[in-house]
């Protein structure tokens, strides 16, 4: 593979030479490993999640079972389940838009993940081939990155982080509610732990690991300062967030998949396909 450079008389940073080649064909690379496997896997898993979550969000039914509420529908601001905060579907909801409680809230966690630093790097590769993988040629020759519109909007990630904190609180409250089962005969609520309770507990733990390891949070709690030695609370917070941040990719994927599984669990229990076993 030949490289070509031309003399450039302009006095700029690349004063001596000007690059003119050699990458032109999409996917060309000298790499000999299976570089395409990782972006392909990311593409398949993320696409599957988006398709499933969209489908589940539009269903509007089988999203709760006993004390369990699917995380895709939490918090249920309006809806027909006992988990609803403000009663049934509001009158102001446009008739031409299909109704589902999930449509009111899913945008927030969705945008939190969409603007996440880890996911950004990952889906730029897998969905936009920008680049497809390291040292692999791209399909486009123009590039603006996150320097201008629209991707400059990724900089508002921290605002979705603030919203994500509330979701963690709501989902933790759902776990608390999942500990109280209603007796079908007496109607009394009694303490218990079912498999579904554990599913929701794991969901909160994984989402907590993901949210509390966020790069923006790491910055806000301590990274913003050059000296943490005189601020013990900030220093501890920074260390804790940094600890989670080192495994941000793992938390991101596990929490994503577990949210989907939690919805599947509640849905199949509600449909009578699966039985929720009570442990206590």
């Amino acid at each position: 593979m030949a490289q070509g450079f031309q003399a450039d008389s302009q006095s700029n940073l690349m004063a001596e030479t000007n690059y003119v080649g050699p990458f032109s064909r999409f996917g060309s690379t000298s790499r000999k490993d299976a570089w395409w496997v990782q972006p392909l896997l990311v593409f398949l898993v993320l696409s599957s999640f988006v398709v499933y979550a969209t489908w589940a969000a539009f269903q509007g039914k089988h999203y709760f079972y006993g004390p369990y509420l699917s995380p895709l529908y939490s918090p249920e601001l309006f809806g027909d389940s006992p988990h609803s905060w403000f009663g049934p579907r509001p009158d102001w909801w446009p008739q031409f838009i299909p109704w589902s409680p999930a449509l009111l809230i899913l945008w927030a966690p969705g945008l939190f993940r969409l603007t996440c630093y880890y996911y950004r790097g990952t889906y730029y590769k897998a969905f936009w081939a920008d680049p497809p993988s390291c040292t692999v040629s791209e399909p486009r020759k123009t590039y603006r990155g996150e320097h201008s519109f629209p991707l400059i909007l990724q900089n508002i990630h921290r605002y979705f982080l603030y919203i994500a904190f509330f979701f963690l609180i709501f989902l933790s409250y759902d776990v608390w509610r999942a500990l109280w089962f209603t007796d079908p005969v007496s109607g009394e609520k009694t303490f218990g732990i079912g498999i579904g309770t554990l599913v929701l507990v794991i969901n909160v733990v994984l989402l907590g690991g993901y949210t509390l390891g966020c790069h923006s949070l790491r910055h806000l709690v301590g990274g913003i300062r050059d000296r943490l030695s005189g601020a013990p609370v900030r220093r501890t917070a920074y260390r804790c967030v940094s600890c989670l941040n080192r495994r941000h990719m793992m938390w991101a994927w596990m929490s994503l998949l577990w949210v989907a599984f939690s919805d599947v669990y509640v849905r199949l229990c509600s449909m009578g396909v699966w039985t929720d076993w009570k442990i206590i």
């Binding site: 593979m1 450079f5 790499r31 390291c134 590039y143 990155g145 320097h147 900089n155 921290r158």
Partner: protein, 248 residues
């Protein structure tokens, strides 16, 4: 004695070709050992830049089987056995000859970055006091050996050639080492946004992947710098509540 086959890119800026060499190899050899052996026995005009052979000088950067690596730190035993090993120069930079590229652009960029500007001395004798834990954070960035593998792999430079608008991961590490230094009082955020083009980085982490010093370039340097740029330019709440300003 076993042998290995190398396909080495030869030629200069006018054009290149792959030439095949087979040479004897022994246990523990690195790619640079084999290249120097080829140079000694078969191709005395083969151009290769090297110095320490210990991963400290950052001179022998090249692309081995398509991935940027230091030749002196890549063991032959870590490469697929029985297959030809492809050796090419770094593709982001102008080729001088064979495996040698002109990386001088990097040195010109470095001169543009605002220098270290310490606060007034803490003591009457003109010295400063720093806590070790505050220095630890920037110590990671001081490990950089300026091999420029991160610059080579960065698609903004390698593929899109934005040499005028983007300083590359190596210099974001350098800026981070200054900007996060507990003594430094300079503010480089405006330059990061405009002249340095940090917005062009789309966080693919290729730079981190190829760093021979295991510097977490993306997570510990680039993203924290992006967040500092957000503080100044894209966060109205932060600007509103100026008392939260964390700089210095």
């Amino acid at each position: 004695m076993p042998s290995a086959t190398f396909q080495v890119q030869r030629g200069g800026a006018g054009g290149g070709r792959l030439e095949t060499y087979t040479t004897e190899v022994a246990e523990g050899m690195v790619v640079l050992d084999a290249v120097l052996q080829i140079q000694a026995e078969q191709a005395p005009d083969l151009a290769v830049r090297w110095n320490c052979k210990a991963g400290r000088c950052g001179s022998c950067s090249a692309e081995i089987n398509g991935m940027p690596k230091l030749m002196c730190m890549t063991r032959l035993s870590d490469l697929p056995p029985g297959k030809p090993i492809l050796l090419q120069p770094m593709k982001a930079f102008p080729l001088i000859k064979d495996l040698v590229t002109d990386v001088s652009w990097n040195f010109r960029v470095k001169k543009m970055i605002k220098k270290f500007k310490p606060r007034p001395p803490d003591a009457a004798d003109g010295t400063w006091r720093m806590a070790q834990e505050d220095v630890d954070r920037v110590q990671e960035f001081r490990k950089c050996i300026e091999c420029f593998l991160c610059q080579d792999v960065c698609h903004v430079l390698r593929e899109h050639h934005l040499f005028e608008e983007f300083i590359g991961p190596r210099f974001f590490v350098h800026v981070a080492s200054l900007e996060m230094h507990p003594l430094d009082v300079e503010d480089r955020r405006e330059e990061l946004k405009k002249a340095d083009g940090i917005g062009y980085c789309n966080i693919t982490k290729c730079c981190t992947q190829v760093c021979p010093e295991d510097i977490h370039i993306t997570d510990n340097a680039i993203i924290p710098l992006k967040e500092r740029v957000v503080d100044k330019f894209y966060d109205p709440l932060k600007r509103l509540f100026g008392r939260w300003r964390g700089k210095k």
